[in-house]
Symmetry: C2
């Protein structure tokens, strides 16, 4: 990361306390609506993602999982992440091998990220994929999911 500037990782400070409780409650509600279960490990991983200041690696989550410092076993976290991705509560950022909580409302949307190579921030934005979907259709492909990752420098790091 920071090869040129020295900001703390993550332009998105994690949410805490009240806001965090509220967000977890909202997730609970959305799960209940579709007969899905926000079990303890799933809830815990979502909590860690929401509270974090930037993209979290799986082993960051594994290390932070226990309330008193005991790490989780890898499958525990990977399974929770798989669930959270499936429900749209989290996204994997392939080029970082890391995860972020979904910052965009609505149960269904495509993922796109602006990633700062300098401070490590990853900002989700609502992408307009009409051009690419048209290209895919022209090629005869049936598209299920699209992910886009743009690497560059965030406003704060550009100012340096």
């Amino acid at each position: 990361m920071g090869t040129e500037c020295h900001h703390a990782d993550g332009a998105h400070p994690g949410i805490k306390g009240h806001a965090l409780t509220h967000a977890l409650g909202a997730a609970e509600t959305r799960c209940a609506a579709t007969q899905e279960r926000l079990t303890a490990p799933r809830r815990r991983v979502l909590e860690l993602l929401l509270g974090a200041d930037g993209p979290q690696k799986a082993y960051d989550l594994i290390a932070a999982f226990g309330e008193h410092g005991e790490p989780a076993k890898p499958p525990t976290v990977y399974r929770a992440l798989e669930f959270l991705e499936r429900l749209g509560f989290a996204h994997r950022i392939e080029s970082l091998n890391a995860y972020v909580p979904c910052r965009i409302d609505g149960t269904e949307h495509r993922a796109a990220f602006l990633i700062c190579d300098c401070c490590g921030a990853a900002e989700e934005f609502e992408p307009d994929f009409t051009a690419q979907l048209k290209a895919a259709e022209a090629a005869g492909y049936e598209v299920a999911t699209i992910t886009l990752e743009a690497r560059g420098r965030c406003p704060a790091c550009r100012a340096d």
Copy 2:
């Protein structure tokens, strides 16, 4: 991969013999033009990518590296891949942890792929990123690279 249909991996058959020699020669020429060196391991990895029928994992290349079955050491191949990516001769597909040779002419372009979840084919296409670049600019980001990976089903697999 093939969870639903049984095509051979890779809609793009690799190139052989004459065409392969020609492609390697062209790469050599492009390197010479920019004072870059297409050394033996770099050339060999490019040859393997061009000859393959689909995306190749790094350890596939490592295993296939030697002409007589002896594998390469990992850094040999990873360094060659890094070089090939830098010059635009190859692309990494993040969601597969795999590599493909660049199928689009021109020394500089952004990468976008249509990936078939069924047969494993990965088709490169020339993306129009104007919408996303506009969004990035609105957010104040300076974009260096963009990659897009669309997962779905290719025409052949849809026909099943």
